[in-house]
C-alpha cells in the first residue's frame, strides 16, 4: 500500500487566514523536519486547523462549542469577501516512482464541504479519509488527555494508537448489544415473564376447576393430568349413558356437545320457572364448589409471609436508604473507572478517612445485596404460594362485585413482588383474603338453601341429571381454558428459552472477544515498550524515571505506572510526574506507536506540543525526532511537520535551518488581512516592504521592515559567529533589532580592544557613526520603544538601506580564483576573512 508525504498546503479564507486572492502557501520537506514558527495570533493554529479540517472534515474544538455560539459561523474567515474557505493539500506517495496528488477542500458559508482533485485523483475524499488516523495530526491537548484520562478512556484511545481501534470499537459495540439490561428490554424478556406467570396462574386455576368438576361427577379424584383425554372420554360416556339426553350426547368428543340443547331437552321433559331457576342455581353452585376448600398450607403461609416481610424491612433499616445507595453505586463506579486515587480521602468532601473508601463502599453495598436477596426470596415464595392462588381464584369468582377501592390484592401483590410491602400490607391482604372466603361461604350457603328447596319440589332424577350435565359443562370449559393456557405457556416458555439462550451466548461472545482483544493489545504494547522507554529517557535526559504501561487483564483499562522512580519501584505515574514528564511520556508513546504503523499518512503534524518543556528537553525531543524518527535520517521514518509559537524552538530551528538540518519557515503578516511565509529569502522580505512604501502604503510596508532588519542582523550574527548573551534567545522578541545591534557592537568593540578586528577602520567608523545611529534613530526609537512617533515611507526605505549598508561593513571584496569575478562576501568571523 502506498503511503503519502505532505509536501505543501495552500490556505485562503479559512479560520484566521484571510489571504483573499493570494493563498498562504507553505511547503514541507519530506526528508527533514519542516518547522513553522509564528507568534501568537498570527495564524499558526489556523494552519493546523486547515489541515485538520481538510483531512477529517471537522474541527472538534469548534464542534464542542455550545450551539448558541454557532460554531459553524467560524470555519470560514469572517473577513473573506466571498465567505469561502479553500485548502489545497499536495501529497506525494512513497513509492519507488512517486506519484503526486493535489486535493482541494472548500468550505462554504452554509457549511457545505466540497472535495475535488485538481491533479485528477479519482476519489479525493477516500484519499483524505485514508489519512484520518490517530497519528497524523497531534496537538498538546491530545498528549495531555492521554495522561489525564481515566484508565478506561486511555485504554480505548490507546487501542487506536496501536492500530487496534477497529477491535476496540467492535468490542464496545458487542458489549453494548450484550448488556443484560439492554438485552432484556430489546428482547422483551420481562414482558414475556409476566405473561408466562399469567398463563401459569390461569392454567392452575383451570386445573383445580376441572378436578373438582370430575370429582363431582364421579365422586373420585381425577388422577394425573397427562390422562386428560381419558377423563374427557369418561365424562362424555357418562352423559351418553343417560337415556333422556343420549341423542344429544351422541358425538365423537365432549367438545362437540351442545350443552344448550341438552338443557333444553331437560327443560322440555319438566317445564316451568322452577326448572329454569333450578338449572341456574345448579350452574352457580357448581362454579362455586369447583373452587374447593382452602389448602391446609395457607395458614402456615400467612405466618411465613409476615415473617419474611418483617425480615426484609429489618434489612432495609440496616441500610442507609435508597438515595445513599445511588451514592455508593456512583462511588463504586468512580473507583472502578480509576477516577479516584486516594483510598483514604472522601471523593465528595475530600476529608480524610480512617477506613478506606473502597472498604466503606463494599460494606455498604453488601448490605444492599442482602436486601436484594431477601426481596427475591420473598417474591419467589409468594408467587408459588397456595394463598396467592386462592386469592386469585376467589377474587375471580366472588370478588367481582367488590368496589375497586375495597379490593386489596393487585396493589399488595405488586408490593410483595417489588419488595416494597410492609407488615401492615400483609395484614390488609390477609384480612381481604378472609373476607373473600366469607363471601364464598355466604354465597354457597344462600344458593344451597334455595337449591335444596327447589330440588325437593322437582323430580329427583332430573335434579341429579341437571347437576351432572352442569358439572360436565364446567369440566369441558375448564379443560378448554387449561389447554389454551398450557399451550400459550409452552409457546411463551419456548420464546423465553431461546432468548435466554441468546443472552448466554452473546455474553459468552463478549467475554471471549474481550479476552482475545486484551491479549492482542498486550502483545502489541510489548512491541513498542523498548522504543517508548528509550525515547522518554532520551527526551528527559534521565534514566531514573522509567514509565511502564500495563493493560488490565479483564477490562480495557490501561494504567500508567512508574517502574522506577528515583530508586522506588512500581508507583502510580499520575500523581508523581510533572507536566513536562507526563507530556514526554505521552509523546514517546504516540511517536513510538506511530513508527510501527503502515497507514496511509507518512507524515505527522505536531502543533505546539512542547509548551510545557524547558529548553533542554525541547532540544532533546527535536534531536530525537530529527536523528531517529524523521524520514531521511531513518529510511523507515516519518515526515515531521512541527508548528510552534515558542521563541526557544524558533531559535533552535533558526540555528538548525542555517546548517540545513531542518526546513524552517516563519508565518508573518497582519490578520485579518494577509499572511505570508518567510524562510531565508531576505530579498523577498525587502521587496514586500519597498513596494508598498514606494506606493505610499505606509501601514502595509512598515510591517515588513522589522522582519527584514531581523533577518539581515541575524544573518550578520550567524555568518560572523558573533557572540550573543546567554539570554539572547529569551529576550523580548519585539526588541530583537536593538538586541542584535547591541550584541554586534559589543563583540566588535571586544575585538577592537583585543587588537584582533578584521574590519577596516572605514567599516568600523561607518558602522558605529553612521549606520547604527541611523537604525536607532529612525527605527528603534520609533518602533521598539513604543514612542509611536510617526515617520514617512521615505524614512523607512532609508532604514532598509541603512541595514544593507550596515551588513556591508562586515563584508569584503572576494575574487573567485577561477572566474576572477569579484563579489562581496562576509568575513569568516570578526578576526578572520
Amino acid at each position: 500500500m502506498s503511503r503519502y508525504f505532505l509536501l505543501g498546503v495552500k490556505v485562503e479564507g479559512f479560520r484566521g487566514i484571510n489571504n483573499e486572492g493570494d493563498p498562504l502557501s507553505v511547503k514541507f520537506k519530506k526528508d527533514k523536519i519542516s518547522s513553522i514558527f509564528a507568534i501568537n495570533g498570527v495564524g499558526k493554529s489556523s494552519l493546523f486547523d486547515a489541515i485538520y479540517y481538510a483531512i477529517t472534515g471537522k474541527l472538534p474544538k469548534l464542534d464542542a462549542l455550545h450551539y448558541v455560539e454557532r460554531s459553524e459561523d467560524y470555519y470560514v474567515n469572517r473577513f473573506h469577501s466571498r465567505s469561502r474557505g479553500t485548502i489545497e493539500l499536495l501529497f506525494e506517495s512513497d513509492d519507488a516512482t512517486p506519484k503526486t496528488h493535489t486535493v482541494a477542500v472548500e468550505r462554504l458559508s452554509d457549511g457545505t464541504r466540497l472535495v475535488t482533485s485538481p491533479s485528477g485523483h479519482p476519489d479525493p475524499e477516500a484519499l483524505l479519509s485514508s489519512f484520518h488516523s490517530s497519528f497524523a495530526l497531534l496537538d498538546y491537548q491530545t498528549f495531555n488527555n492521554f495522561i489525564s484520562n481515566s484508565p478506561l478512556e486511555r485504554g480505548r484511545s490507546f487501542s487506536t494508537l496501536l492500530g487496534l481501534d477497529v477491535y476496540s470499537d467492535f468490542r464496545q459495540t458487542l458489549k453494548a448489544v450484550a448488556d443484560t439490561r439492554a438485552l432484556n428490554t430489546d428482547l422483551n424478556v420481562p414482558v414475556l415473564q409476566a405473561r408466562i406467570r399469567g398463563y401459569s396462574d390461569n392454567a392452575t386455576t383451570s386445573l383445580v376447576k376441572l378436578g373438582n368438576a370430575y370429582k363431582s361427577i364421579f365422586s373420585k379424584d381425577m388422577g394425573e393430568i397427562d390422562k386428560l383425554k381419558d377423563f374427557f372420554a369418561e365424562v362424555l360416556e357418562s352423559l351418553q349413558q343417560v337415556e333422556l339426553i343420549k341423542d344429544d350426547a351422541k358425538v365423537a368428543s365432549l367438545e362437540d356437545i351442545d350443552f344448550e340443547a341438552i338443557v333444553k331437552t331437560i327443560k322440555t321433559a319438566e317445564g316451568g320457572t322452577d326448572r329454569d331457576r333450578f338449572i341456574e342455581l345448579s350452574s352457580l353452585l357448581t362454579k362455586l364448589k369447583l373452587i374447593g376448600s382452602p389448602s391446609t398450607k395457607i395458614e402456615d403461609e400467612k405466618a411465613d409471609l409476615k415473617t419474611k416481610v418483617e425480615e426484609l424491612n429489618e434489612l432495609y433499616e440496616s441500610t442507609a436508604g435508597k438515595e445513599r445507595r445511588k451514592l455508593y453505586d456512583a462511588a463504586d463506579h468512580l473507583l472502578d473507572s480509576g477516577g479516584w486515587h486516594n483510598p483514604n480521602q472522601c471523593p465528595l468532601c475530600e476529608s480524610s478517612l480512617t477506613t478506606s473508601i473502597r472498604e466503606t463502599v463494599t460494606t455498604q453495598q453488601d448490605q444492599y445485596k442482602q436486601v436484594d436477596i431477601k426481596i427475591t426470596e420473598t417474591r419467589q415464595y409468594w408467587q408459588i404460594s397456595e394463598l396467592r392462588k386462592r386469592i386469585v381464584l376467589l377474587e375471580d369468582s366472588v370478588g367481582k362485585d367488590i368496589p375497586i377501592t375495597d379490593k386489596h390484592f393487585t396493589s399488595n401483590d405488586a408490593k410483595i413482588i417489588n419488595g416494597g410491602a410492609k407488615l401492615s400490607d400483609i395484614e390488609e391482604l390477609i384480612t381481604y383474603y378472609l373476607k373473600l372466603e366469607t363471601r364464598l361461604n355466604a354465597a354457597v350457603k344462600k344458593f344451597t338453601e334455595e337449591y335444596d328447596a327447589l330440588s325437593k319440589k322437582l323430580p329427583k332424577s332430573l335434579v341429579q341429571l341437571t347437576e351432572q350435565v352442569e358439572f360436565a359443562k364446567q369440566f369441558h370449559e375448564a379443560t378448554v381454558d387449561y389447554e389454551v393456557n398450557i399451550t400459550k405457556y409452552n409457546e411463551t416458555k419456548n420464546d423465553i428459552d431461546f432468548r435466554v439462550r441468546w443472552q448466554g451466548f452473546i455474553n459468552k461472545a463478549d467475554e471471549e472477544y474481550a479476552k482475545a482483544e486484551t491479549e492482542l493489545s498486550r502483545q502489541k504494547l510489548l512491541t513498542i515498550e523498548s522504543e517508548y522507554k528509550a525515547m522518554f529517557a532520551n527526551v528527559m535526559g534521565s534514566s531514573d524515571v522509567v514509565p511502564n504501561l500495563t493493560r488490565d487483564d479483564a477490562t480495557e483499562h490501561l494504567y500508567v505506572q512508574l517502574e522506577e522512580f528515583r530508586g522506588q519501584q512500581d508507583l502510580s505515574a499520575k500523581p508523581l510526574l510533572s507536566e513536562s514528564y507526563r507530556n514526554a511520556l505521552a509523546i514517546s508513546v504516540y511517536l513510538s506507536a506511530a513508527m510501527k504503523h503502515a497507514d496511509a499518512p507518512r507524515f505527522i503534524v505536531l502543533d505546539d506540543i512542547s509548551s510545557s518543556f524547558d529548553a533542554g528537553h525541547e532540544l532533546n525531543l527535536i534531536e530525537y525526532i530529527r536523528t531517529k524518527l524523521q524520514y531521511g535520517a531513518n529510511g523507515n521514518g516519518i515526515q515531521f511537520i512541527i508548528l510552534t509559537h515558542d521563541d526557544l524552538m524558533q531559535n533552535l530551528f533558526e540555528r538548525l535551518s542555517s546548517s540545513g538540518e531542518v526546513h524552517h519557515q516563519v508565518i508573518e503578516g497582519m490578520p485579518p488581512y494577509n499572511l505570508t511565509m518567510r524562510s531565508k529569502n531576505a530579498t523577498q522580505l525587502r521587496q514586500n516592504a519597498v513596494t508598498p512604501l514606494t506606493a505610499g502604503q505606509m501601514e502595509v510596508g512598515k510591517f515588513w521592515v522589522r522582519p527584514y532588519l531581523e533577518c539581515i542582523l541575524m544573518e550578520v550574527i550567524r555568518k560572523l559567529n558573533i557572540s550573543v548573551p546567554l539570554d539572547f534567545a529569551v529576550q523580548d522578541k519585539k526588541r530583537m533589532v536593538q538586541n542584535c545591534l547591541d550584541a554586534i557592537k559589543k563583540d566588535v568593540q571586544l575585538h577592537i580592544d583585543a587588537g584582533k578586528i578584521i574590519l577596516t577602520q572605514a567599516q568600523i567608523d561607518d558602522m558605529k557613526n553612521t549606520h547604527v545611529p541611523a537604525l536607532l534613530s529612525n527605527w528603534v526609537s520609533h518602533f521598539e520603544t513604543g514612542s509611536g512617533t510617526s515617520v514617512s515611507p521615505a524614512v523607512l526605505i532609508g532604514v532598509l538601506n541603512s541595514v544593507d549598508k550596515f551588513a556591508d561593513c562586515f563584508k569584503y571584496d572576494y575574487t573567485d580564483p577561477q572566474s576572477h569575478l569579484v563579489t562581496r562576501k562576509y568575513y569568516k568571523n570578526l578576526s578572520t576573512r
Binding site: T173, L183, E491, N494, D495, R501, F505, K508
Partner: protein, 75 residues
C-alpha cells in the same frame, strides 16, 4: 472449548472470522445468527453509533429467535 486468539499478522476481518468460527463451535445455531448479523456491529465508533447499532442488531436477533422458536414448535 479451545482458546480464541487473534493473530496480529492477519487483518481484522480475518480475526473476526476466527471469532465467528469459535462462537459457532460454542453454539452452532446462535453462532449462525451472530454471523448473519455481525455487519451491524462493525460501524460503532462512538456512543451514538453504538446505540444505533444496538437498535438495528437486537431487533434483528429477536426476529431470528422468534423464527427459531416457531420452527421448534413446528409452526
Amino acid at each position: 472449548m479451545t482458546e480464541l486468539n487473534f493473530d496480529d499478522t492477519k487483518s481484522f476481518e480475518n480475526n473476526l472470522e476466527a471469532f465467528l468460527v469459535h462462537m459457532e463451535a460454542e453454539d452452532a445455531e446462535m453462532g449462525k445468527i451472530l454471523r448473519q448479523n455481525v455487519d451491524s456491529l462493525k460501524n460503532g465508533i462512538d456512543d451514538s453509533s453504538r446505540r444505533k447499532a444496538r437498535s438495528i442488531f437486537n431487533p434483528k436477533i429477536l426476529t431470528e429467535l422468534n423464527e427459531l422458536s416457531k420452527e421448534a414448535e413446528g409452526v
